[in-house]
């Protein structure tokens, strides 16, 4: 049994999720693979979105997977870092916008 919660090599075993619930696992992977196919957005654009979301979700498996996916698609490190900053900006903006709620409350109580 691993002594850490995250084991990098566990990413390779992701597909085995299906073994304990074939129907749901298969539905998930079918859905997942369909999402990343070329559509109104290119697979390259989707890869960058996935990289940004991987960071906002703080998912180490997803970060490993989509850093590699980006390299495979020829995405540059500058493009990858810009995507991470988009995620970071939304995350920090999501915190900061609550400041309006704080202002509303303070103004109501003590305005």
């Amino acid at each position: 049994m691993s002594k850490t919660y995250y084991e990098p090599s566990d990413l390779r075993k992701f597909g085995k999720i299906t073994e304990w619930s074939e129907e749901l696992g298969t539905k998930f992977f079918d859905y997942y693979n369909s999402v990343f196919e070329e559509g109104a957005l290119t697979s390259r654009e989707k890869s960058l979105i996935a990289l940004a979301v991987s960071h906002t979700e703080k998912c180490p498996y997803c970060i490993d997977a989509y850093s590699k996916d980006g390299l495979q698609r020829g995405i540059t490190k500058e493009e990858m870092m810009e995507a991470v900053h988009v995620g970071s900006a939304i995350k920090s903006g999501a915190v900061l916008v609550h400041g309006v709620q704080m202002m509303n409350k303070v103004n109501k109580l003590d305005g």
Binding site: R12, T42, S43, R44, Q72, R73, G74, T76
Partner: protein, 352 residues
């Protein structure tokens, strides 16, 4: 330009093909964690792997090169002295005259550095081979004055030029192929474009080869080609015809890099996971014969570098017999997963 030394010059253990084959058969494959290539193709009744109609004769004119690329499966470099002699070239010309192959593919090292390169191209071009390829690393054209006229030379003999270009950005290209390689490659591409190579509707064929700059597999060839074309046109007004996406095989300097960077196991997992049975039918060893600088025969360029000579009574061009060679069984090992990953990989790009 970045100047490393070849594994041979460094007297690295990995310069020995036996050591490489040992690593490729050991560890994950010996423990059964991953299936061997033989086991994998046995599942689809493709073992033993047999040749189809011979289409490509690939001749390696020598391991000498002006570059020392990080990923090079040939372990080529300026310090390699293995060069094909004129005598061996004469033997090659004999087989080029009689072969059923429609494509002649000259490679190296930098084939242009062979002192008899131009003589050989001139002679070989008269035989009437349909597609005459020279794999040129581009920087050789700018390396020395004596090579500056190579584009005109290629044009004179209607040579199909295939060149490596790992990325459309300077940083990624120079990381893999040495500092300064990007600028020299761009300059060489411009000189090829200037005389018609790679231009839309031109018969002077100029294709580029993309192989990843690190421990990851290439993406979809068509979308990579689109990205390369857009970027090289926008940034440098450069044109080319096709992009071939090639997977780095875990041998020689790339194997050394994988082990040193602790990426070997993950890379082998990635290759095995990406195994595509549809690519097996078209792997290049089934339609190619690879000839080494000293005239030995191999199933492919990679087997040449691992010194796995063809399993045939005929093993050298001195005894060349295409009919006998066609009856051989192709030698496989775990490096072959590199040719069957994803859409497959060959010197002519994807397979499936």
């Amino acid at each position: 330009m970045k100047q490393l030394k070849s594994l041979h010059k460094r007297e690295s253990l990995l310069a020995e093909s036996n050591k490489q084959l040992e690593i490729l058969s050991d560890g994950l494959f010996k423990s059964g964690e991953l299936p061997t290539f033989k086991e994998k193709i046995s599942e689809i009744n493709r073992f033993p792997l047999k040749p189809k109609q011979l289409e490509i004769l690939q001749i390696n004119l020598g391991y000498m090169c002006n570059q020392v690329c990080e990923h090079c499966h040939v372990d080529a470099g300026p310090d390699r002295k293995e060069i094909m002699t004129k005598e061996t070239m004469l033997q090659c010309l004999k087989i080029i005259k009689t072969t059923g192959a429609h494509t002649l593919d000259l490679t190296g090292g930098a084939p242009e550095m062979n002192p008899n390169f131009r003589w050989f191209v001139e002679k070989a071009s008269k035989v009437g081979i349909k597609d005459f390829i020279v794999r040129s690393n581009l920087t050789i054209i700018r390396a020395n004055k004596k090579y500056h006229d190579l584009p005109d030379f290629f044009k004179k003999y209607n040579v199909h030029v295939i060149s490596s270009m790992p990325h459309w950005t300077r940083g990624k290209t120079d990381k893999q192929r040495g500092s300064g390689v990007f600028d020299q490659s761009i300059s060489a591409l411009k000189s090829l474009n200037a005389i018609g190579y790679g231009m839309p509707n031109s018969n002077l064929k100029l294709d580029l080869v993309y192989n990843p700059s690190g421990a990851f597999l290439p993406s979809n060839q068509a979308s990579m080609e689109k990205d390369f074309k857009r970027a090289l046109k926008e940034d440098f007004n450069i044109h080319f015809h096709n992009l071939f996406a090639i997977t780095n095989l875990p041998i020689s300097r790339f194997l050394d890099y994988l082990i040193a960077s602790d990426n070997y196991e993950d890379y082998m997992y990635a290759l095995v996971e990406a195994y595509n049975p549809e690519a097996v039918a078209n792997v290049m060893c089934t339609n190619t014969i690879s000839v080494s600088w000293d005239g030995w025969l191999y199933d492919c360029d990679f087997n040449q570098m691992l010194d796995l000579k063809v399993a045939s009574k005929v093993q050298h061009i001195n005894d060349y017999n295409e009919t006998l060679l066609q009856n051989r069984h192709i030698i496989v090992s775990q490096h072959c997963y590199g040719c069957t990953a994803g859409a497959g990989s060959s010197c002519q790009g994807t397979l499936a």
